[in-house]
Amino acid sequence: MINELAHYFSYEFVRNAMMVGIMIALGAALLGVPLVLKRYSFIGDGLSHVAFGALAIASVLNLTNNMLIIMPVTVITAVVLLSLGQNAKIKGDAAIALISVSALAIGYILLNVFSVSSNVGGDVCSTLFGATSLLTLTKTDVAICFVSIAIVIAVYVFTYNKMLAVTFDEDFAKATGVNANGYNFLLATVTAVIIVIAMKLVGTLLISALIIFPALSAMRVFRSYKSVVIASLVIALICAVTGIIASILLSTPTGATIVVANLAVFIIFSLIDLIK
């Protein structure tokens, strides 16, 4: 088995996939903590479907660099969703569901009507579940991913305490002079960035899992904000590594395998919580 793994890891594309997978899992796990606590667990799902819709538009327009459409559309949607807050006529969860299914439907219609490839079903499936594109990463992809995740982590570290304050009590933060709207905007933006990048790894359907599972598992057992954040990172790292290795050895789809690893950890942590 070790020989088999060593053989796989002698290929650069496997090493790239591993690195990118770990980075995305870490970034998603970091953002998961405030998002879950703000009751925005489904924002990952919603935004990734919007990204899917934007991807469909980009491929219909035959753009060589589809990020030019996907990134701005997703960021704008994220900002709108997070800034709607509690005052909107359509509440957070409903607004996310509404945008999510609409974008999915429109994207699917576009791909069907204006399809450039002969295998629409396969194309859609691979966008939704991530399939193979992780193994075809170029050096540029890896570099872009690395820079984006580094920015996300830097933003997170520098705004850590304020994000905690705004997540725990937005009114108090605003009343005492913290620019809560600014931090919500920042959180929305980095969330959108992570999601667009993560599309390659797990596909649009499973991104939610990368965002919510580590945070939810950590919250079963840990009792302070700092320990929850650190535990989320460790869980995300372990699940990404074991998921990718298992998917290589068992020839299973990578994204789905990482999610199942996360589910297993969640079940274990829930049991620990019950026993305590």
Binding site: F158, N161, A165, D171, K174, A175, G177, Y225
Partner: protein, 259 residues
């Protein structure tokens, strides 16, 4: 900004200047007036209770004073060097907080962040001050405990400690004893009274509890009465307003007899 500064300077020429001047304030939602002709001034060390039935705009007034929502018309001016960054606030608890995984210390410390600008971490001074405040409020022993595992009274102390980290001047409290049992309610009132009497912190409190308001406050703002009553507690009692109980107070008294 410029106007605010100018305003503060003019006020400082007088010996005693008000911390908060509310003029002809009209409150409401989407153009619908809830409360109007609100006029009052608060000086350092005052203890103001805002009373009135549900729907008379008590919480709306508090949120407007804090700048969380804008009034339909009228003005709120800060004086005596007060700015929004020197206000402490004890809000009502929200659903999100009920299962929030954060330690007492982590939550108390967030009170400092309004004055931080882009500074990401807490200073040594702030850590020491947070310790002092937690000590004073009897929550230092729980500093590493999870907020969601505390009793209601302990949680309110944590939020009060956080508010005190944000200010040395003025505390705005939105129904600080709601949901607490009588003993804990009494302790909470005594703690707030101590902050007012011993440290000279101005208190503005929204309350259902007219008996306690009359006992502790120096001034009363009664929103249900038209014209709106604002004045000292003695004036309030002389006019017999405190006997004119709110629905809640009546219900509570009725319940007391039944018990």
């Amino acid at each position: 900004m410029a106007n605010e500064k100018k305003h503060t300077r003019i006020l400082n020429k007088n010996k005693v200047s008000a911390q908060l001047i509310v003029k002809d304030l009209v409150l409401g939602y989407e153009g619908k007036v809830v409360s109007k002709d609100i006029n009052f001034q608060i000086y350092k060390g005052n203890y103001l209770c805002i009373v009135g039935e549900n729907g008379t705009g008590k919480s709306t007034l508090m949120k407007t004073l804090l700048g969380l929502r804008s009034p339909l018309s009228g003005s709120i001016e800060y004086g005596d060097n007060l700015t929004s960054k020197r206000i402490g606030y004890l809000p009502q608890q929200t659903l999100v907080q009920k299962d929030f995984p954060a330690s007492v210390k982590e939550i108390v410390m967030t009170g400092f962040l309004g004055n931080h600008g882009f500074l990401p971490w807490y200073s040594k001074d702030e850590k020491r001050r947070a310790e002092e405040i937690m000590e004073k409020f009897g929550i230092a022993d729980f500093r590493n405990k999870c907020y969601r595992n505390l009793s209601g009274g302990q949680q309110q102390r944590v939020l009060l400690a956080r508010a005190l980290c944000a200010t040395e001047d003025i505390l705005l409290l939105d129904e600080p004893v709601s949901g607490l049992d009588p003993k804990v309610t009494y302790e909470m009132y005594e703690l707030i009274d101590k902050l007012n009497k011993e440290e000279g912190i101005t208190i503005i409190m929204v309350s259902h509890d007219i008996d306690a308001s009359v006992k502790y406050a120096s001034h009363i703002l009664h929103l249900a009465h038209i014209p709106i009553f604002f004045g000292t507690k003695d004036n309030y009692m002389r006019q017999g307003f405190h006997l004119w109980k709110t629905d809640e107070a009546m219900l509570r008294n009725g319940g007391g007899i039944l018990d």
